[in-house]
């Protein structure tokens, strides 16, 4: 399972802070991080607060990761300017909405714009179209020490309806 593999990579990279706004696609990874005594899970009220959290942690010598869904990328735009101008390292794992099997048309515009929005603000975008690609891309993102977003395709997560989501 990709969440277990990603959790192992986060631990190997020395991640101590996990900032997130919950997403169904991140459910398992969030549980693994919360259960890990070496990691501090920080629930955010909006994704942009994760940028301040990650930057502050880096100033203090601590590594972090941010988890969000694609709609949250829209909330990051202005504050990513700080990441770019200060060259803060930043790893974000973004579960995609508005793609294969999406049941909510309101998710489509931000899902479609997600890669361009990130690239416009200087964040490198890596795409995992298959479950086995996620963990290696996360590991590589930490080695880069730059701003990187790993996008996890909706096909990997495979939520197709409200019904299926409530049954999780």
């Amino acid at each position: 399972m990709w969440p277990e593999q990603v959790h192992r990579e986060l631990a190997a990279a020395g991640v101590r802070i996990v900032g997130y706004v919950p997403d169904a696609g991140h459910k398992r990874l969030i549980e693994l991080c919360r259960a890990d005594r070496k990691m501090r899970a920080v629930v955010l009220t909006t994704e942009e607060d994760g940028i301040g959290l990650a930057a502050g942690a880096w100033l203090g010598g601590m590594k972090s990761v941010l988890l969000m869904q694609s709609s949250g990328v829209g909330n990051l735009v202005n504050v990513l300017g700080m990441v770019q101008v200060c060259r803060f390292p930043l790893v974000m794992i973004v579960t995609m909405r508005g793609e294969q099997g999406e049941f909510n048309p309101w998710q489509v515009p931000m899902g479609r714009a997600t890669p361009q929005v990130l690239e416009a603000m200087g964040v490198s975008v890596r795409r995992a179209s298959d479950a086995k690609e996620v963990a290696p891309l996360v590991a590589e993102a930490f080695r880069r020490e730059q701003a990187v977003a790993v996008l996890v395709s909706q096909g990997v997560i495979g939520i197709k309806s409200f019904q299926e989501q409530t049954e999780q």
Partner: protein, 197 residues
């Protein structure tokens, strides 16, 4: 009640003999205030990312639990990131104090009124979010209590300091983001390493 405190006096008093205090400042006037008090590698003044000063303080406080962390920001900057107060209330970093220098104005854009001019009470918001201490300061005689909060009281703490709406002379910090980040890490991490040896 008309404010009588002057922002530079308040910030100068808090940062005098600052010991090992780590300082983050919100963009605009509070960044100029901490610089007027004396620039330091252990200060991180922001020039953008409005609304993120308190979250920068939270990340730093979590990463360095043995150091006192002070966020100095304005009322407009704090109002843009009110959710951060809820997150700090949940995380409860004991070493973090947020000081809001409240002139009830957007100082960099023409001194337009903020919500605090219309009775929005940021200290009450912080208390409702679970801060350990949160109150309004408006008198010179209270500044010793404020300083004790910053340097010693278990937090998270928030002080909303009512100040005169004025525009003191600009005192600008370095604006190269990489310089600000690297000098902070170099000074802090060398210091932390020295303490371990």
């Amino acid at each position: 009640m008309k404010p009588t405190l002057h922002r530079r006096d308040v910030v100068g008093f808090l940062l005098r003999d600052r010991k090992k205090l780590l300082v983050v400042a919100g963009l605009g006037s509070t960044a100029w205030d901490i610089t007027a008090a004396g620039d330091s590698p252990l200060s991180f003044p922001t020039w953008g990312a409005m609304g993120q000063a308190a979250m920068l303080g939270l990340g730093l406080a979590v990463a360095q639990p043995r150091r006192r962390v002070l966020v100095v920001t304005g009322d407009g900057e704090m109002l843009m990131g009110l959710g951060a107060l809820a997150t700090i209330g949940v995380q409860r970093p004991a070493n973090l104090t947020v000081v809001v220098i409240d002139n009830e104005r957007y100082g960099e854009t023409g001194m337009q009124a903020t919500h605090t001019a219309h009775r929005v009470d940021l200290a009450a918001v912080a208390r409702a979010c679970g801060f350990e201490r949160a109150r309004v300061f408006s008198r010179a005689r209270e500044l010793k209590t404020l300083r004790a909060m910053v340097y010693g009281k278990a937090g998270p703490n928030l002080a909303q300091v009512k100040v005169v709406a004025e525009k003191p002379p600009l005192v600008l910090p370095p604006h190269d983001g990489v310089v600000l980040k690297e000098r902070f890490r170099a000074a802090l991490l060398a210091d932390v390493l020295a303490e371990k040896l």
